[in-house]
């Protein structure tokens, strides 16, 4: 049995190492300053970069954060502080269900809600789709981090005559802020890796655009387009972009794990 388990572990970890190593090897060659600073070259020409896609991804997750952060954090505070009621349980349950909805379905909803009334694709629609995707993760992380704050903090604040809302905002929240921030960063990194909802909301753009009302390029959609292309140079750039994405997510995951580790000696 032990050998079977060990074999399973090896088989499970192998693809991770393979994917990471492969994107590193394939992408490192194409990962130069041009990649970050230049615009995509016309079809068939060598070189060029993904500057508009990098900026586009930044704008999209910025928009998503603008919409999703207030909703997620406040809902998380509600669940942690006032959420022991049946309604709180229902909200928690639905937040879990929401986190399991496929990202492409969220993209379809954003299409119906934003693209159809506006009449054209836009970065705003992409931002809304990403916001819906981020909300359950941020809610869950905020709730967990706030619940970790010891009850004695709240009771001390109330014993001093501080109203409950002030206790939550000025004592409990700053204590939990480190974990919440890292959780938010992780949620943003995960949203940066989303492709499917952006395919028919933000669409994509081969030119430089920072406007919210127009289609906008993004790193993930670029990877998708470049991977399907018959040009080797484009394929290499797709590998470079995927390496950047994986690197970002890995680093933030490690930081998140480090910041939220349980300190066993503090019990």
């Amino acid at each position: 049995m032990t050998s079977f388990s060990l074999l399973c572990v090896v088989l499970a970890v192998a693809p991770l190492i393979l994917i990471f190593a492969y994107s590193l090897i394939q992408g490192l060659g194409a990962l130069n300053l041009d990649f970050f600073l230049q615009m995509p070259k016309p079809v068939g020409e060598e070189g060029g970069g993904m500057a508009n896609a990098i900026v586009g991804t930044g704008i999209l997750i910025g928009l998503g954060a603008l919409i999703g952060l207030p909703v997620g954090i406040l809902a998380g505070i509600y669940l942690a502080e006032y959420g022991d009621s049946p309604f709180g349980t229902a909200v928690r349950f639905l937040a879990d269900v929401l986190s399991g909805i496929p990202s492409i379905v969220v993209g379809v909803v954003a299409y119906i809600l934003i693209v159809l009334p506006m009449g054209h694709f836009s970065a705003l629609a992409g931002g809304v789709a990403l916001a819906i995707l981020m909300v359950p993760t941020i809610t869950r992380t905020t709730e967990e981090m706030i619940r970790l704050v010891p009850q004695s903090f709240r009771e001390a604040g109330l014993a001093l005559g501080i109203p409950r809302w002030k206790t939550t905002l000025r004592i409990v929240l700053p204590t939990a802020l480190k974990g919440i921030t890292t959780g938010i960063l992780l949620a943003l990194a995960r949203a940066a890796g989303e492709t499917a909802p952006l395919l028919f909301t933000a669409l994509g753009n081969r030119f430089w655009s920072t406007s919210i009302m127009n289609p906008i390029a993004s790193l993930t959609v670029f990877i998708y387009d470049y991977a399907k292309a018959p040009f080797e140079d484009w394929n290499r750039q797709a590998w470079a972009a995927s390496f950047v994405l994986i690197f970002l997510i890995f680093v933030l995951s490690i930081i998140f794990r480090f910041v939220t580790r349980q300190r066993y000696d503090q019990r």
């Binding site: 572990v9 502080e81 496929p102 409950r164």
Partner: protein, 336 residues
């Protein structure tokens, strides 16, 4: 969290003035008095946003139902049982996509479940203490890789390997079974099943590991005391964790069903139902990714939105079931 201490403190605070007004008014009246305006505003502000999260799922369902009404009216239930997908003639039937989604997801589960259980058993029973956290983290990192990167790897590494090595070998040795017949494109059901298996593995592993660890060690100690071997004890523990592992599997199935980019790039995108693992197929998420931005007529878009609605319903049911099972199991063992 409203402990008795906090509620008493709030009552004594009253409206924030000091000394506080007496608490001699009856508890029933006190429940409806606004003790503190700030508290009232804050609690209901957060409650409002909790309500936003609450209503998001229903809003999505309603919008998708409204956005697909043309297709629902025209095709009704036959949408789910017909195989023709003809945008030119405006004839739409989703059966090939349902087959593709279910086929690749079930194949993924078939491959991933034993592997996940093996890793979960290792992490909870056999692993040295220092190795457990890093190894769990590494397995969870698999879940963090974006789907598109899996697709990229699938197209450039997995598919050629399947086309050149694996599928010809399978065809030579097992080609008389219809499951392994047909030309070896590399792209197809087998490729998508394999990629989905890798993507689903971390979810099933981490939940199964949590479930296995939540089973009280009394069970294992009792088994050892009776002279059971490591394998026999693990079998007993696995049996009591049965429903939790079922919940983990349902969650993994939910993820596999909704997975888009990785599947789109390796499944071959051919809306046909075939018996062979080597033949290209088409999943619900893939058809949405490929055709949504280019849907010309309104009925086309509505048919696609109806596919999204079907996908939505399937994942919501799977997730709800899974959460209920996992929640009830961990609660059972917490109070035990």
């Amino acid at each position: 969290m409203a402990t008795p201490a906090i509620e008493t403190a709030q009552q004594i605070q009253g409206d924030g003035n000091f000394p506080a007004p007496s608490v001699s008014s009856s508890p029933r009246k006190n429940r409806w008095r606004i003790h503190n305006v700030g508290d009232f505003v804050f609690e209901n502000l957060t409650r409002l946003f909790g309500f936003v999260v609450f209503s998001l799922v229903f809003l999505m369902a309603f919008e998708m139902y409204r956005g697909s009404h043309l297709s629902i009216e025209k095709f009704g239930w036959s949408f789910l049982t017909t195989s023709t997908w003809d945008p030119v003639q405006d004839q739409f039937g989703a059966l090939p996509f349902i087959f593709g989604t279910l086929g690749s997801s079930l194949l993924a589960l078939l491959i991933a479940l034993p592997l996940s259980l093996g890793v979960a058993v290792f992490l909870s029973e056999l692993c040295p203490r220092w190795l457990e956290q890093p190894l769990s983290f590494v397995v969870e990192l698999l879940a963090a890789i974006p789907s598109i990167v899996y697709g990229l790897w699938g197209v450039f590494v997995l598919v050629p390997w399947l086309r050149i090595t694996v599928e010809p070998f399978l065809r030579k040795s097992l080609g008389y079974i219809p499951l392994f017949s047909g030309p070896a494109y590399g792209f197809g059901m087998l490729a998508s099943g394999l990629i989905l298996a890798i993507m689903v593995l971390p979810i099933i592993t981490s939940i199964s590991r949590d479930v296995l660890k939540s089973i009280p060690s009394l069970q294992r100690e009792a088994a050892f005391a009776l002279g059971a071997t490591r394998w026999e004890t693990t079998r007993i523990v696995l049996r009591s964790a049965r429903s939790g592992i079922l919940g983990a599997t349902l969650l993994g199935l939910g993820r596999a069903v909704g997975e888009t980019m990785a599947v789109t790039m390796v499944i071959g995108n051919r809306p046909e139902i075939a018996a062979s693992l080597f033949s290209p197929a088409y999943s619900m998420a893939s058809v949405l990714a490929n055709e949504f931005a280019e849907a010309t007529t309104e009925i086309y878009t509505h048919a696609l939105i109806e596919i999204a609605l079907v996908l939505f319903v399937i994942t919501v049911i799977l997730n709800a079931l899974a959460r209920l099972i996992v929640w009830s199991l961990t609660r059972k063992f917490k109070t035990a």
